[in-house]
Symmetry: C2
Subunit: 246 residues, 2 copies
């Protein structure tokens, strides 16, 4: 039986029709899910994704040992330990993290609220292992791009294309025939995959980060586009994001 893959290019386009997927991969390449994989790949205990900076701060009030991380509209947040840079996150070691971002953590919350199946956290950094895990299971797959404030985002769509490419290579049961955005993501990825970094330097999100003068934008881009730096699968388990035993 075919396993259908669909791509939802923005949480704003999520609807009741998306609640019948056995698995959803949420991605926010610049930079929430890349930061999550970087944290967990470098020994963090777990991450709790929340929908607002206020929620993150209230976790800290309850437990001062937590690291609170995130950004809002691309800006760092007062009173937070960390921003949303994968490079910063890679240096945290064995901490427990609460994270609030403009797009990524909101997308996770949106799909959780829809009450669908398993939720994975995807980035180029853990591309193949995530594909291996999905292949080992059954059912249909939704790839949910966090986008930027509800709109299309190039880097998230390209990750969707990369994941689809991996899955199609692994198993002939996977099919994208029901979903135009999956076909578009795959076509785009195949077209630019040999030069992903240069292509993404022309993306609006990269330019937005450059305008915000984040000191590590260029390094974050290079870091986030490393394929398979970590051999881990991240999944939402209860309110936490943790490494799956696989």
């Amino acid at each position: 039986m075919n396993r259908f893959i669909e791509v939802c290019i923005s949480p704003s386009l999520l609807s009741e029709s998306h609640n019948n997927f056995q698995c959803t991969v949420v991605t926010d390449i610049f930079r929430a899910t890349s930061s999550m994989v970087a944290s967990m790949g470098n020994g963090a205990n777990w991450i709790i994704p929340v929908s607002s900076p206020e929620q993150a701060l209230s976790y800290r009030t309850a437990d001062s040992s937590l690291v609170i991380a995130g950004e809002q509209g691309g800006d760092n947040l007062a009173g937070f330990d960390l921003g949303n840079s994968p490079l910063e996150h890679a240096m945290q070691g064995g901490k427990s993290i609460v994270m609030s971002t403009t797009n990524g953590t909101k997308a996770i919350r949106a799909i959780q609220n829809l009450g669908t199946g398993e939720i994975l956290i995807g980035a180029f950094l853990n591309l193949s292992k995530t594909a291996d895990y999905i292949t080992s299971k059954e059912g249909n797959l939704l790839i949910l791009c966090a986008g930027w404030k509800g709109n299309f985002s190039l880097e998230d769509t390209l990750y969707a294309g990369a994941l689809i490419e991996k899955l199609l290579q692994k198993n002939k049961l996977f099919s994208i025939e029901k979903c135009d955005s999956a076909l578009a993501a795959l076509t785009l990825y195949r077209q630019v995959s040999s030069n992903l970094a240069d292509y993404l330097r022309s993306a609006s999100h990269y330019k937005r980060l450059i305008r915000k003068k984040h000191k590590s934008v260029e390094q974050d881009l290079a870091y986030s586009l490393q394929i398979d730096k970590f051999n881990i699968v991240l999944a939402c388990q209860g309110d936490k994001i943790q490494i799956l035993n696989f």
Copy 2:
């Protein structure tokens, strides 16, 4: 001064941020805007786009000489003179038409309700003349893809890419640097433009029309992908779509 082009890939993603464009091109290649261009290019007087079949029927009650056209969910409508096939529309001659479709006429109504600037009707059938007209004016351009029931649609996005390609060739002031979906649409179009029909046969919308067993799907596809069959610009003027004197 740069003239920015943005692409909104679905009316579901329209927001207040889209009300500052001097011009919007609405496109629904399969098949509403292709049908509109086919009608008007073959001598129709004008078209009134409406949001529901009931509205179209009430126009007919008021004036029995009107042709009412459209579809709902891809199905033809009882009591309607015409469906949504560009080929059928091309054969209407000098009629006045009221049209209701699942995506295209709703997209036109959505952008009208946002109270933005000039609204044009775009299809491959009138690509170059539309590009000429936009180039002759000033200001920023929004390309609004009608999509399918709120979701991404490949053929509309490829039309957006084709129009962007034309505009960038015509004038160096046009810029897509603020919009990832414009860059993605252009990249996709450049990748598949030499084989548009074959690529679109793998699109979900084409397969949906095939499943609905519309007799003219294959001919409609070929008809709709003809570039510059008509040398006309269509614009919303009051409640009507008419040919612009240009």
